[in-house]
């Protein structure tokens, strides 16, 4: 099996980073082997890459459904367990809508929040490939390539305008 290396190329601006992505494809490094890291959100479209997969919306919808069920249970279930007969009927429908709405929204938002944690694998305090310059606005390409490509990738990145290209090392954040 070919040896795989991790290279970290740092760019000052978005245009050379976008060119670098194209160049990497030409060299045979596919998008799956390139991770873009930035201090400001850069959309995939800006770099000509495929949209990222995210489950956050699914988490939100699942949470909303669970919240609705909890709301229905609280609004309709608990009066059955402990009946308080009001005005000759057990449950007036309009007040239950309030309970169901609040519980649906609450669980939906909690699920969305947790969805970010699960999808992003937060919290993650293990050492990882990163340089603090990224939060100062640099754009980093974390490139996974075979050992035979390393020199070519490094040369290509520098020719496009990378500030630095180096072997990525996992460090404590």
């Amino acid at each position: 099996m070919t040896e795989k290396n991790l290279l970290l190329a740092i760019f000052e601006d978005i245009d050379p980073a976008a060119h670098a992505v194209d160049k990497l494809r030409e060299l045979g490094v596919t998008d799956e082997h390139v991770t873009v890291i930035s201090g400001t959100p850069i959309t995939e479209a800006m770099l000509g890459r495929k949209p990222q997969w995210s489950n956050v919306t699914r988490f939100a919808l699942g949470g909303a459904f669970v919240g609705l069920c909890v709301g229905i249970f609280l609004a309709y279930g608990t009066p059955q367990l402990y009946p308080i007969v009001v005005n000759a009927r057990w449950i007036g429908v309009p007040p239950t809508i309030v309970v169901m709405f609040e519980l649906t929204m609450l669980l939906m938002l909690i699920s969305t929040f947790l969805g970010v944690f699960l999808d992003s694998r937060f919290p993650n305090y293990t050492p990882t490939e990163y340089v603090p310059e990224i939060s100062d606005g640099r754009i980093a390409l974390l490139i996974e390539c075979g050992g035979e490509l390393e020199a070519a990738v490094e040369a290509a990145m520098k020719s496009i305008g990378a500030e630095s290209v180096k072997r990525a090392q996992a460090e404590a954040l």
Binding site: D13, E102, V116, D136
Partner: protein, 484 residues
């Protein structure tokens, strides 16, 4: 420069073109005046870590007020009983409910400024969304204190939770007070999560630029955020969901607070328009409070003059004016229909509002909520004047406190049982407790300003990337790109 809007190559070259319109635009608008990201990061970090002795003196005084006026008075009330408050027949709800509604109202500003303006992509929001979101969380904490204080036996608060308990009863979900419990807690949790999510990249920035105990804490809070495409994507989707979903929650909270009153068949309360009237009132006090906070931040924290400019005062002033008009509209609607209804008890109450012992409060409410904002905020120069804008914001909040005072203890004096009518309401220990919560709110905010980046730097930079100046003929025109 790092990720810069390439159409802005002369961002700091206005000295040689002082009278140029383009240079004027750059001076006026933060979004057109980008600095390198590292420089902005350094400014925000320095604003957090530069603390003078005066700051700690003020914080110490506030802490003393909190200890004595809030926790001291509350503890004394618990030991002596609720009779120390102004609660008495017929004013059963006293000032605790006034202050609950007041603080819940203030809390609406964060969501309004952050979520609604995010949904509509209003760009001037960017530097102060976090300052507004912090207000939401801290104001809701004060509202919670008022509710707990009003309970009297606060250690039985868990009776509000839908859990089996020794009473063998479940809470009644058909009660507006129970809806309140659900809505305020939903809003508190949602707004705290909404505060935290966009804070993560700034905490990572702070982690990268700090040392010692600060680095340890920021490292934990930043959760290992690096800024990968995937992390940004998840964050962006979540923020969009939050921005859209938290708005109906915000509307529901103050609508439900209004239902605490409106579902009762009492003169002055039983009104179908109370829901939107309360919501607009909340926005009125909340946005005015945001204006005040933004001015204080701008003039007391280092480097904030770069991030918060006169354009922001102007925009907030316009919002205050429009919301004041909305409040007047709903107030008049509410008043008009009750006045036209011909119900004798309602007539007596309306007369009591205007000509009773607290009549001056009713007139003060109209002057501070309507007359003053309308007379002042139409003027661009006055909107941009921090002293004037702060004063109007303060007066609006006094006016909104007066509105809640009229709705709760004053309106409780006149009911459908004339033998239970009162004439005057005498506040008690709620007053020091309220003063304590005001001090607590300011103290929390001051401490947060030492620890949390109050300006979302990544959002500011994102906005600066999207803005540029194009020339149509000889006229420079601001253009905004859709980056998402």
């Amino acid at each position: 420069m790092a990720i810069s809007a390439s159409a802005l190559p002369h961002a700091h070259a206005e000295s040689h073109a002082h009278h140029d319109h383009e240079a004027e635009l750059r001076r006026e608008h933060l979004m057109l005046d980008p600095k390198p990201r590292g420089e902005m990061n350094a400014m925000v970090m320095e604003s957090m870590t530069t603390t003078s002795w005066k700051f700690w003196v003020v914080a110490g005084i506030l802490a003393l007020i909190v200890a004595v006026a809030l926790f001291g008075a509350w503890g004394y009330m618990i030991s002596e009983g609720l009779y120390l408050s102004g609660k008495n027949r017929p004013g059963y709800w006293s000032l605790f409910l006034v202050h609950t509604v007041f603080w819940v109202g203030i809390s609406h500003a964060g969501t309004f400024v952050s979520a609604l303006l995010r949904v509509f992509k209003v760009e001037f929001r960017r530097p102060f969304t976090r300052a507004a979101e912090l207000m939401t969380t801290f104001a809701l904490a004060q509202a919670g204190i008022q509710i707990f204080a009003h309970m009297g036996r606060v250690w039985l608060a868990y009776w509000m939770f839908p859990i089996p308990n020794q009473r063998q009863l479940w809470v009644n979900f058909q009660s507006p007070l129970m809806w309140d419990f659900l809505a305020i807690n939903t809003y508190l949790l949602a707004s705290t999560m909404y505060l935290f999510l966009p804070l993560i990249p700034d905490l990572a920035m702070a982690r990268d630029r700090s040392t010692g105990w600060r680095k340890s804490v920021y490292r934990i809070l930043a959760l290992g955020f690096r800024g990968t495409e995937a992390e940004w994507t998840h964050l962006r989707i979540a923020l969009n969901i939050f921005a859209f979903a938290i708005l109906p929650v915000m509307f529901s909270v103050h609508t439900i607070v209004s239902w605490d009153f409106a579902v009762a068949m009492r003169p002055g309360w039983s009104s179908t328009i109370f829901g939107p009237y309360f919501v607009i009132g909340a926005l009125q006090s909340g946005v005015a409070a945001v204006g005040m906070v933004v001015i204080v931040i701008r003039y007391t924290m280092k480097h904030m003059d770069y991030f918060i400019r006169k354009e922001h005062f102007d925009a907030i002033g316009k919002l205050m004016l429009v919301i004041s008009m909305g409040w007047a509209y709903f107030f008049f609607n509410d008043y008009m229909i009750q006045w036209y209804g011909g119900d004798s008890f309602t007539d007596a109450l309306l007369h009591f509002h205007e000509a009773g012992p607290g009549g001056w409060i009713w007139f003060m409410m109209l002057i501070t909520n309507v007359a003053i904002p309308w007379l002042v905020l139409w003027n661009r120069a006055w909107r941009r004047n921090p002293v004037i804008l702060f004063s109007v914001g303060l007066l609006i909040n006094v006016g909104m406190w007066a509105e809640r005072y009229i709705i709760v203890p004053v309106s409780l004096q006149i009911n459908r049982m004339p033998f239970l009518w009162g004439q005057d309401f005498r506040p008690g220990i709620e007053v020091p407790i309220f003063i304590g919560t005001v001090a607590f709110f300011i103290l929390l905010y001051m401490l947060a300003s030492r620890f949390l980046p109050l300006v979302p730097v990544w959002e500011v930079q994102e906005g600066q990337m999207a803005h540029s100046i194009r020339k149509y003929g000889k006229e420079p025109v601001v253009t905004v790109a859709e980056l998402e």
